[in-house]
């Protein structure tokens, strides 16, 4: 089944006569670059010879900012990295801080965090689907997915008061307990949601044009994927069943049942299928969390000022919607982290774009940018 890299393009060789190569600046203000990604392309006709990504247009020095603020004040800064998946950023950061300080999170907080993270995963994947489809020319899924995404954001708003930059977790637990009726509304949304997913799949999964545009495009062999350190749905699309939630369970992921969907060929279509399947698994996790939700406090006992021990360092990674998002934090005995480095999944995954683009056409390039699911706020930080 696995097709060797570049095979689907070989039959185009006769199509384009040998001609002079042209350099094309793709972005940073291009509708399909999902922000301010700039690609220096060398093209031969429509065929891409070379891709050189240029990033940094959205660099805000987040890592320097982390060093300036106490641990709890950094949570809002993490919202602004992957701004379409703020909850998982928060979760990764507070997870790292808890590991550093030895805080133990109460079980109710763990379950609520899991629900928030899975809701965030669904909403991030919905946004990915919307933009991916609109890049490939299907306009309508964009509006359908946003319709459902709004309902998820409504749940976030009800819980923490914000829709996008959530700031919804604290080292040691959560700032609030769930509001009254939240679980019912969440359950209702989760009951409706698989039908909506079927709708998107009806529009795309079997559509021959969609398949033509995605099957066999941007094949990423598993060994190359690991070599590039790619994580998340892109890695699983290449057929490697590895998910931080299963491999190194955090929160209470070892107490719920879910599957890790994988692809076969590692092409764009497989990555699409993996993400669609992941949304269904997220629904499953949320429903289990709602069933098992324990009572109790949502915040651990902790000092008012969180101080890390002198000379302590941890790395904590979680499964974000885009891949493994991890924080490496060094403490030096002050309330601020001495050094706080982020492992941004978008940054690492984007690195493979030149590899994916080899021999692709311009039209494939937008599909490939879509399939890497990057958020420039996270790439540039």
């Amino acid at each position: 089944m696995t097709q060797p890299l570049g095979l689907p393009y070989d039959d185009h060789d006769g199509l384009f006569a040998e001609s002079e190569e042209m350099e094309l600046n793709f972005g940073p203000q291009h509708p399909a670059t999902h922000g301010v990604l700039r690609l220096k392309l060398k093209i031969n006709g429509e065929k891409i010879v070379d891709t050189y990504p240029i990033i940094g247009y959205l660099h805000r020095g987040t890592e320097k900012l982390f060093e300036l603020h106490p641990f709890f004040q950094n949570v809002p800064h993490t919202d602004r990295m992957d701004y379409v998946a703020a909850a998982t950023n928060n979760q990764a950061y507070v997870g790292a801080v808890e590991k550093l300080l030895g805080l133990v999170v109460p079980p109710r907080a763990r379950y609520i965090r899991m629900m928030l993270a899975e809701l965030q995963r669904i909403s991030s994947h919905l946004l990915w689907l919307a933009t991916h489809a609109i890049d490939i020319g299907a306009m309508t899924p964009f509006f359908y997915t946003f319709r459902e995404r709004e309902r998820i954001l409504d749940l976030f708003e009800e819980y923490c008061g914000a829709r996008l930059t959530l700031n919804c977790m604290r080292p040691g637990g959560l700032p609030h307990d769930l509001p009254v009726g939240w679980t019912d509304r969440c359950r209702k949304l989760m009951d409706d949601f698989p039908a909506k997913l079927d709708e998107y799949e009806e529009l795309l999964t079997n559509n021959r044009i969609w398949k033509k545009r995605t099957v066999g495009i941007g094949v990423l062999p598993p060994d190359v994927a690991i070599d590039y350190g790619i994580t998340g749905p892109m890695l699983r699309g290449s057929g490697i069943r590895w998910d931080v939630r299963k491999a190194l369970p955090y929160e209470a992921y070892d107490e719920v049942e879910f599957e890790v969907p994988i692809g076969q060929n590692g092409d764009t279509y497989d990555r699409y299928l993996v993400r669609m399947a992941e949304m269904r698994q997220s629904v499953r996790i949320i429903l289990q969390c709602l069933d098992k939700l324990p009572d109790g406090p949502v915040m651990a006992r902790r000092p008012r000022v969180l101080k890390a021990a002198k000379d302590s360092e941890v790395y904590h990674g979680i499964e974000g919607p885009k891949g493994e998002i991890g924080f490496y934090i060094v403490g030096d005995g002050t309330p601020n982290p001495y050094r706080c480095h982020v492992r941004p999944p978008s940054f690492i995954n984007l690195q493979s774009l030149p590899e994916l683009c080899k021999g692709a056409l311009i039209a494939d390039l937008v599909a490939l940018i879509g399939t890497t699911d990057i958020v420039l706020g996270e790439v540039d930080r």
Partner: protein, 159 residues
């Protein structure tokens, strides 16, 4: 059998007609648009909107200013003898919030030690767009207390 079915499905363009059917059905489904100036979206109870301040409750501890990650709360106060009780009280001189840079994280509200909170973010106001930043988005003590709900846009403001 399934191969034959797939073949005929392909010939008859069934995959394309499935999508067409879905969009056609949506023609008659409920629309989700909110007609903004007439219809207004009601924020949830915990919505982090514009600030409010209750000067009487405030104990001038400046924790909100210290908890603010971007330092946009400016507080000045002085000590004054209260003529009724004869005790020294802190009196606020200045309580300014530079909403231009605010990211509505809500940490100031969380840091406030009074019960109920003397600064909170739940004014359910999201209409903060303005033509002059310094005039409308730099709020002082009086504005913070009076800011019940920002008045809705008038017609000439929309146009």
């Amino acid at each position: 059998m399934s191969a034959i079915k797939r073949f005929f499905g392909k010939i008859m363009l069934l995959d394309l007609f499935a999508g067409l059917g879905l969009t056609f059905r949506h023609l008659f489904r409920e629309k989700v648009t909110v007609q903004y100036p007439e219809e207004r979206w009601e924020p949830a109870h915990r919505f982090r909107g514009m600030f409010r301040l209750d000067e009487d409750r405030c104990i001038k501890c400046t924790l909100c200013a210290r908890d603010c990650p971007i330092d946009i709360i400016y507080i000045d106060f002085h000590q004054e003898v209260n003529p009724e009780t004869g005790k020294k009280d802190k009196v606020l001189d200045r309580f300014d919030i530079d909403v231009q840079r605010c990211m509505f994280c809500g940490l100031c509200e969380e840091g406030c030690p009074t019960e109920p909170k003397s600064i909170w973010l739940t004014t359910k106001t999201y209409e903060l767009a303005s033509y002059d930043r310094w005039k409308n988005l730099y709020v002082d003590m009086d504005q913070l207390q009076e800011w019940k709900v920002r008045p809705a846009y008038t017609d000439d403001e929309i146009a």
